[in-house]
């Protein structure tokens, strides 16, 4: 049944090249996401919409430390946006795949699970980048917020690099809930989290008890990554990074527990 007489290097090693596998897997993930408008449109449009309501009216003001309030709010919504790509993308994506039993067939192929996960992460990073570019362009053009390009590049890099806790949170939601529950679960967890962490409104405008709770929330420390890029962080980056690593470990542990439980039920 072999088609060519000349055997390729892949054929002699008995394994397909992982690089090509990762590339095609990522590309497929991107196409899948793109064709689900409920995901692709929401991911790009919602942060812009929220910024329009909560950010645009205040862009001309300046904060106590001299930072432009517009840049601060844009950074807040940038953090909100990347977090939402991760939580919603992984939460709903994983729950849907489990329901469709896509995972069962994939397991029987030589695709290493790590490549499958890596492809999802790469795909999410690309969508996060897309939503950030749209948001920053909107803030610059419509909001008239002026910052050096370097500031935005720095912010984008920090946000993408620090997104791990939300990837893990998305996985946990995806493994703990079915496809009908996952969107609601992701909203119920992520929206209050983002709000209470000062990503919608600056913390100083929130009730006192929220201000006291915020420093214990992952989105608060994630926001610090974005705020530091515009010179408005309220804690050292090392502290923020430590919190984010801690939350990544916690959410991963929850996700792994749920994954293992399902694993032993489905494949034990």
């Amino acid at each position: 049944m072999s088609v060519s007489a000349v055997r390729s290097p892949a054929a002699t090693s008995g394994l397909a090249p992982l690089g090509r596998m990762l590339l095609l897997q990522t590309w497929s993930e991107m196409r899948i996401r793109w064709r689900i408008p409920a995901f692709s449109v929401t991911i790009v449009a919602l942060p812009v919409l929220f910024f329009t309501f909560f950010g645009l009216p205040y862009v001309k003001q300046t904060m106590a430390g001299g930072t432009s309030l517009g840049a601060y709010l844009l950074a807040s919504f940038a953090a909100y946006s990347v977090g939402s790509v991760m939580v919603f993308g992984f939460g709903i994506g994983v729950a849907t795949e489990r329901a469709l039993k896509v995972d069962v067939l994939m397991r029987a192929t030589p695709l290493p699970p790590l490549i499958a996960i890596l492809a999802k992460v790469l795909n999410a990073q690309v969508y996060a980048l897309l939503s950030l570019v749209v948001l920053i362009a909107y803030g610059t053009v419509v909001g008239g917020i002026r910052q050096d390009l370097g500031v935005w590049v720095d912010m984008v890099a920090r946000l993408l690099a620090g997104s791990a806790p939300f990837v893990a949170l998305g996985f946990a939601i995806g493994y703990l809930s079915g496809p009908n529950v996952a969107p609601a679960a992701a909203n119920l967890v992520y929206l209050p989290l983002a709000f209470a962490s000062g990503l919608f409104l600056p913390l100083s405008q929130l009730p006192g008890f929220v201000q006291r709770v915020a420093p214990y929330l992952p989105a608060y420390h994630y926001g610090q990554l974005a705020w530091s890029a515009v010179g408005a962080a309220s804690e050292p980056m090392a502290v923020a990074a430590a919190w984010l690593v801690g939350y990544t470990v916690l959410f991963l542990a929850i996700a792994l527990r749920a994954y293992r439980r399902e694993e032993s039920r489905k494949f034990g």
């Binding site: 390729s8 497929s28 064709r35 795949e97 896509v102 069962v104 695709l111 494949f267 034990g268």
Partner: protein, 265 residues
């Protein structure tokens, strides 16, 4: 691998391809654990309980699966062998149940595997799809591929298999060529209506398998209908009505797998 529903066919396939872990014993594929990537690169599988994303097209998903294997078939070839050439550009979500089943077949063969595991491959296929599928299976077998498939239709196994393993309740109850197996299966169905209610004692020791016993009516399967009738007359069973017909193969086969229950019950 042949057996009624619940016989353990899917579980056996799952064990062979490493989707489930055996509680005892060991599975080896090409001398490796079935979960080993080198072993997986040489087999193709078609499962009953599995799915794919709905928004990719047939050609896109076949291309994706090809990338998992070291020496895949050309995509058009795999799609043609599954009889999906016309649907190559269609999204998976728009396919009918039978077409979807053909897609899973395309995904199973696209890596040009040496061994194919197909769990109830013809379920949901219409007549035409089934015919194309049978043709592809015969082509693959002719090219030296090993094909392990499950079915609960004796006729299907007879048509396609060189060796049939019958399992029931997780145990092998027969392992033979199709010819040997059909010889073992009772060929005649005898329905007797007696002038009085029949009891187990009336039927004990007959060269037949009792399928049903309901008042004055009994249905038996046997390869020796004449002996059965002679014995019934000798035991003084007055036969009011009688029907002897060629046993439906499926029915006969089910009787074979239910033997253990009949004896104990």
């Amino acid at each position: 691998m042949l057996g009624p529903n619940g016989a353990g066919k899917t579980t056996s396939i799952s064990l062979m391809i490493g989707l489930r872990r055996p509680t005892a014993g060991e599975v080896r594929l090409f001398g490796r654990p079935p979960t080993d990537r080198r072993a997986r690169s040489r087999c193709g599988v078609m499962l009953q309980e599995s799915g794919t994303t709905a928004v990719l097209t047939v050609a896109e998903i076949v291309d994706l699966f090809r990338a998992y294997y070291p020496a895949p078939l050309p995509a058009e070839r795999a799609i043609a062998m599954a009889g999906l050439t016309e649907q190559a550009g269609a999204r998976v979500g728009t396919l009918s149940g039978g077409q979807r089943q053909r897609l899973y077949f395309a995904l199973a063969i696209c890596g040009d595997p040496e061994i194919l595991f197909l769990d109830e491959p013809t379920v949901g296929m219409d007549v035409e799809a089934r015919r194309a599928f049978v043709g592809s299976i015969q082509t693959l077998a002719g090219a030296g591929k090993t094909i392990v498939f499950t079915s609960h239709y004796l006729r299907e196994a007879e048509e396609l298999a060189g060796r049939i393993v019958v399992i029931d309740h997780g145990a092998v109850i027969a392992d033979a060529s199709p010819r040997e197996l059909t010889a073992r299966v009772p060929g005649k169905k005898i329905t007797v209506i007696a002038g009085r209610p029949l009891s187990r004692a009336d039927l004990d020791g007959l060269p037949a398998r009792v399928i049903s016993l309901d008042g004055d009516r009994a249905t038996l399967l046997s390869n020796e209908p004449a002996t059965v009738l002679r014995e019934l007359f000798r035991r003084g069973v007055d036969v009011v009505d009688l029907e002897v017909s060629g046993a439906d193969l499926e029915e006969a086969f089910l009787a074979l797998t239910r033997r253990a229950e009949t004896v104990t019950g």
